[in-house]
């Protein structure tokens, strides 16, 4: 008795849904593009797309956040038009897929934060951080930390290192800082979006940047690396921010000046394919954990109209959209002029 009723309801709902779906003006007449990948770039793409679509109603762009790896692989497979990634493709990847472009769209950075009441700006170095995450430096009053922080009273307490467990661009640039500044780390742990974290008693893995902020808040004596777009939450939680030792031997905080200094020092050496790390860049005032955020795009698109729409949008991103009005909201920095030119040259290859 009841099942037929259910069936009938289902059929009616189905008819309704199909009708509703068909009645919706599909893609109007325009072109629709899909961007997917990096969760770090996602908030910026959302700001960009919102303005760009009002000015260009003929193109609709959907932004999604899936992770840099997904951005890379789905762009290679042609499932999406724009893959967003915190990391450039490796040499082996480029050899296997020479048709992929790595186009910097902006500059991001990362802070090292810790939960030590009363200490606002601790001095930390790559080798110290490597020691903490390898479990070799386990106490806050370790001689190595004390030597970098003369005059600071360090608590006698076990350090709780917190790392990301999901694949992450933040892990990529953090591990790159360790690998470039500490020989031990580079030979054993390498760098990448996922790291085989050494077993450290008391160490914690957290999911996503919000998870890192919460885990650090929940754990006094913890230390964590947190993407710069979460700087406001970190500040609200009253967590300390480290001054990091850069390549020139100075301790610097992540500020617009120090991040720009890092970007400026790499701008002239950025190659034509723009695959270069900005981590541990030279420059007296350069902040050491800075990176390009990339669009991973195929040179050959299915049709000329799509290719043109991608070119137009990406060109706008690196020029009209590369201004503080958008970037400041997520604490990103604009590309240096020389890099913008390189990006535009690459964008022109999309056919």
């Amino acid at each position: 008795m009841k099942l037929p009723t259910l069936l009938r309801t289902g059929a009616a709902a189905l008819a309704l849904a199909t009708a509703a779906g068909l009645a919706t003006p599909a893609h109007a007449a325009g072109i629709s593009l899909v961007e997917t990948g990096s969760s770090l770039l996602y908030p910026l793409f959302n700001l960009w797309v919102a303005s760009y679509s009002t000015a260009h109603p003929d193109v609709s762009i959907t932004t999604t956040s899936t992770g840099s790896g997904a951005g890379i692989s789905q762009s290679i497979q042609g499932l999406v038009q724009i893959g967003a990634s915190d990391a450039y493709l490796s040499d082996a990847m480029v050899k296997a897929h020479p048709e992929m472009l790595n186009i910097p769209l902006g500059i991001s950075s990362q802070a090292i934060n810790y939960n030590l009441p009363g200490i606002t700006h601790l001095h930390l170095t790559g080798p110290i951080l490597a020691g903490i995450y390898e479990g070799k430096i386990t106490n806050w009053n370790d001689p190595a930390i004390a030597a970098a922080n003369p005059g600071v009273t360090l608590p006698n307490h076990v350090i709780i290192p917190i790392h990301r467990i999901d694949g992450s661009g933040d892990t990529f640039i953090f591990s790159q800082y360790l690998a470039f500044s500490d020989a031990g780390w580079s030979s054993t742990e390498h760098y990448g979006t996922s790291i085989s974290w050494p077993a450290v008693a008391g160490g914690i893995g957290a999911n996503g940047n919000p998870g890192m902020v919460t885990a650090l808040k929940n754990n006094p004596y913890g230390i964590a690396y947190i993407g710069i777009s979460f700087a406001d939450q970190v500040k609200a939680a009253k967590l300390g921010q480290a001054e990091l030792l850069n390549k020139a031997g100075n301790y610097v905080l992540p500020t617009p000046e120090t991040i720009s200094a890092a970007a400026a020092s790499v701008a002239s050496t950025t190659p034509a394919d723009e695959r270069i790390s900005m981590v541990f860049a030279p420059g007296a005032n350069a902040y050491p954990i800075v990176n390009y955020e990339y669009a991973i795009v195929k040179t050959s698109q299915p049709d000329a109209a799509t290719a043109k729409a991608i070119r137009k949008f990406l060109s706008w991103c690196v020029q009209g959209g590369n201004v503080p009005a958008y970037l400041d909201k997520v604490h990103f920095m604009a590309l240096p002029a020389a890099v913008k030119t390189l990006s535009v040259t690459q964008i022109d290859k999309i056919k």
């Binding site: 899936t66 992770g67 990448g192 893995g205």
Partner: protein, 321 residues
């Protein structure tokens, strides 16, 4: 034997389940094949997992191309999965059995008493049934958020000796909360189905109400309860997001205490898939497929164990009778 079209039809329909399972298993096996031959059996008792240097030039080991330094050991994840799901069942079963019994047997009595004075009282059981069904749809992520906002600080402040609430216990409690409704509602439905005659004859023998429940009704619903537990265990073994958020993501180590950070197989697959996709040799993805395969074997083993247990229980009962 005459042809019975209806039976044939439902048989064909039910054969689609094995077909789907086989498709998934074949896919995984095919996908994981190279990883299986590369890793061999020590995959199972190696604690260390390392995707290797995805930015280094791939190296060839035994004719298979892998990223330099890659090593795939899953013992830590097997341990994390079994420990968290086992502990979750250990917490959830007494809770849900107690809750279901109280709801099915005590609440109606209490309601009858209360209704004399409080006629406006809303019906308790439908309200609770609704709560249970609502909880079933609360997304896993929300359980995880509740876990890190409420449970983890609580465990850290009051229970954990080190002050750190993330880890095995937090994962097990969140899992237990997620599966309790499954076990409780299965048992509750079964208790309501127990024939009146059985209850009444137990009362007639002078049993207290509680004895009626434990001695006359529970044995009748034992196999349904076992079914519910297996269903819940299946859910716990495969749960991903909530576990990922509170488990502390232990790598390269085995759990030694309730507050050790752990990773489960399912949550680990989610957390690594993204990075694995940027591996030029695609060995990482194959190794993840192999882990998923291991999870299959575990669920297979759980089901075999459940089967043996329930048939053993049947034997005992038939001998008594």
């Amino acid at each position: 034997m005459t042809l019975r079209p209806f039976r044939l039809l439902v048989l064909c329909i039910s054969l689609m389940i094995p077909a789907a399972l086989c498709a998934v298993v074949l896919f995984l096996a095919g996908y994981a094949g190279q990883a299986i031959s590369f890793n061999g059996l020590h995959f199972l008792w190696d604690v260390n997992w390392n995707l290797g240097d995805l930015y280094g030039d791939p190296v060839t080991v035994n004719g298979i191309t892998i990223p330099p330094g890659a090593e795939y050991g899953v013992l830590a994840f097997i341990a994390g999965t079994l420990a968290s799901s086992g502990l979750a069942i250990f917490i959830a079963v007494p809770l849900s059995v107690g809750a279901a019994i109280f709801l099915a047997e005590a609440v109606p009595v209490l309601e009858n008493h209360a209704r004399d004075r409080l006629s406006w009282l809303p019906p308790i059981r439908p309200a609770l049934a609704m709560l249970v069904e609502l909880v079933a749809v609360v997304p896993s992520v929300v359980f995880g958020l509740w876990g890190i906002a409420v449970l983890v600080p609580f465990l850290g402040h009051y229970i954990s000796p080190t002050g750190n609430g993330y880890g095995l216990l937090a994962a097990a409690i969140v899992l237990a909360l997620m599966i309790t409704p499954i076990i409780a509602s299965t048992l509750y439905d079964a208790l309501l189905q127990v024939p009146k005659e059985n209850r009444e004859s137990a009362f007639a023998l002078g049993s207290t109400h509680f004895e009626v429940v434990t001695k006359a009704m529970m044995p009748m619903v034992r196999s349904t309860l076992a079914g519910g537990i297996v269903l819940a265990l299946g859910r716990a073994l495969g749960e991903t997001m909530a576990v990922l958020m509170v488990s502390g993501g232990g790598l390269n180590m085995l759990p030694t205490s309730l507050f050790s950070p752990i990773s489960t197989i399912a949550s680990f697959i989610v957390s690594q898939l993204d990075s694995a996709e940027s591996d030029p040799t695609s060995m990482s993805v194959k190794a993840l497929a192999e882990i998923a395969f291991v999870l299959f074997i575990i669920t297979l083993a759980v089901n075999v164990a459940a089967k043996l247990l329930s048939s053993g229980a049947l034997n005992v009962r038939s001998r008594k009778a």
